[in-house]
Symmetry: C2
Subunit: 376 residues, 2 copies
């Protein structure tokens, strides 16, 4: 099978990651932070080490503000719902994934917040000037995806970060498609809260998301329970990371991410090169096909190329690719309805091919041949 669905979950998991997960499964059954015996202590130390590595990776000033959750969506819920005040105004965009849109629309529906959705320009980018213009007296935060999961467009996070900083707004960044692919640095880019998953660009495993935040942007916990600390307290503790990590955490996936970050640091330059080469080859190749329209940007960092085929809706195209050619892509709306409406593709959707550095040129050639056949 040719796996071109890496934007959903990267297909390749480095052996080091699998080994680390298995070490946790066979040697660290105990709950970290809950007991004082060897296994529990080793688990706690590994969690702390992983926080340190993540903090370094994304420029989070305080490793204790690296908190784990089930996935990037939960981390975004914690960031957004934990940072609002009643009656506040939020700036976001049409490019967002439902992991951002649905919490925002829930706040709108409940009358808690008003939300402005900025319209991307021709290059699918949000203009920093538009962000500046949209700021109102009650604006509290800006919530933006760094790289679109549909168009691959990369937002000018650093420019927008300057604006949020100058206006004392909270800047929440959805790094689902950028961490592991693009430069993400909370300090340099003035990001206050950053959410991302383990299983995409970093090649960790499913079941783990991270939220990193600056001390001054610490949100309020949205889930409550045992933290292994301050057990006498009937209210949720206030110390990070514990207050955001109620109940037993996903230790195997945390150890997997720890190993994944080491692998990422060793391979990032060559992998970025290879991913870019394959995505560009895909992009250029699709442009030569008459009945194919590419709607994604020539930003190949995250390996995303989205397109439509004249007369064939995206679901049908993906089904043919899967059944006839054994090629895995994603079709439909990619959980990002507003950008499809904006692009005029909300009826038929788009085919999204997303490559990783572990794909190869032959796979791209096979894919292009398949799309040529399907389109003709």
């Amino acid at each position: 099978m040719i796996y071109f669905d890496n934007a959903a979950t990267t297909g390749y998991k480095p052996p080091e990651v699998i080994q680390a997960v298995n070490y946790a499964l066979t040697h660290l059954s105990a709950n970290p932070g809950r007991s004082a015996h060897r296994q529990a202590i080793e688990g706690s130390l590994k969690m702390a080490e992983t926080r340190e590595k993540i903090a370094k990776l994304v420029g989070c000033p305080n490793p204790d503000n690296v908190v784990f959750s089930l996935n990037c969506t939960t981390a975004l819920n914690q960031a957004i719902l934990g940072s609002i005040t009643r009656g506040c105004h939020i700036i976001s965009s049409l490019s967002e994934h439902n992991s951002v849109l649905r919490p925002l629309f829930e706040l709108k529906r409940r009358g808690i917040a008003e939300v402005s959705f900025l319209v991307p320009d021709k290059e699918n980018k949000i203009s920093p000037l538009d962000v500046q213009r949209e700021i109102k007296r009650n604006t509290r935060m800006v919530v933006l995806g760094h790289i679109s999961n549909v168009t691959g467009a990369e937002q000018e996070i650093e420019e927008i970060g300057k604006i949020t900083k100058n206006n004392k707004l909270i800047f929440i960044v959805d790094g689902a498609q950028s961490v592991g692919y693009a430069d993400v640095n909370m300090e340099k880019q003035n990001i206050d809260l950053l959410a991302f998953p383990a299983h995409k660009g970093l090649h960790g495993i499913m079941g783990l998301g991270c939220l990193c935040f600056k001390d001054e942007a610490k949100p309020t916990p949205i889930l409550y329970g045992g933290t292994g600390t301050d057990s006498h307290l009937l209210t949720q503790p206030t110390t990070s990371p514990e207050c955001f990590e109620s109940g037993t955490q996903n230790l195997p996936a945390i150890l997997g991410l720890n190993a994944a970050i080491d692998w990422y640091e060793k391979t990032k330059n060559s992998n970025a090169e290879k991913r870019k080469e394959l995505a560009k080859m895909l992009y250029d190749g699709l442009h030569t096909l008459k009945k194919v329209t590419v709607l994604s940007c020539p930003n190949f960092k995250s390996g995303i190329v989205s397109f439509k085929i004249e007369g064939i809706d995206s679901m049908t195209a993906a089904d043919i690719l899967a059944e006839k050619y054994e090629i895995a892509v994603r079709s439909g709306l990619h959980c990002a309805p507003l950008i499809h409406k904006h692009l005029g593709t909300d009826k038929e959707g788009l085919v999204r091919a997303s490559v990783s550095a572990e794909n190869n040129r032959n796979e791209v050639i096979t894919f292009l041949r398949a799309i040529k056949e399907i389109s003709e």
Copy 2:
């Protein structure tokens, strides 16, 4: 090492479980329910099969109402916060874990709900009569742990279920220490919502909790995001299980639980026997030691035996056990502060030894000898 901390996380993970997790890691990298290619479809089918097995295991009438989360705590948050109405009254007990207490105290603190905490009797049980007596005009639900993680006491769930049913109350059961150990059947026991983890009595892995509910007790989602379904909707979908499972789910742990349930069904009778034998041996042995007071109940289903040693606080005792004897137990308050206050052990805590069927008699003998030495 002698691992007597099974009530936190069971130390033994069956080879079938490890294999199933590894199959997911190496063969099912794609997101279930998100794409239409082979890997994604296989993942979806495996998830559906796991829901079926869980529904059968706990008597949940509708497998689509078996929903996954990070852990039992998140499942309990979803159950409690998703079932409240403003101004309602909730009946709970002093026996509860912080996974129940902290969501309830948060509701109290915000003035959303009032909560009565029933006092356990001498056998650490909540009297069904007390539940009946506590019902008021605005009582909406009863939230109870089935088996206490401190005393091992088992509540009369079926009797209490009759009362909640007759009074049209929602009955939420925390099955953290009972699923895999005691009879749990939502239909027979009139449980409306049941939460439990994969990594305790069922011997699955960390990072997975389940919430099962009856159609008529469907809660409101508390987290929002992409579900792979109804992607055009800006509001959270309403169809279960999707509406409760925003973002990428922990597929490796779900496959692990699938295999764990098969293993459980094959081994449950002999394992229950063995666990009971070991826990009873522990309980009886500790009773012969002069300076030791056992405070847990002679209910050995979940393998919990909690005790204090005259003149030594529980943390110190656990440290000596870990360092000198390489024995893992849990000390302190076990995230259940009110029951410790009730027992008068909120200062020094208790030592909790919790055995599983994979422990053996020699380990119990070594443990008893160690406690004898420490106490003298």
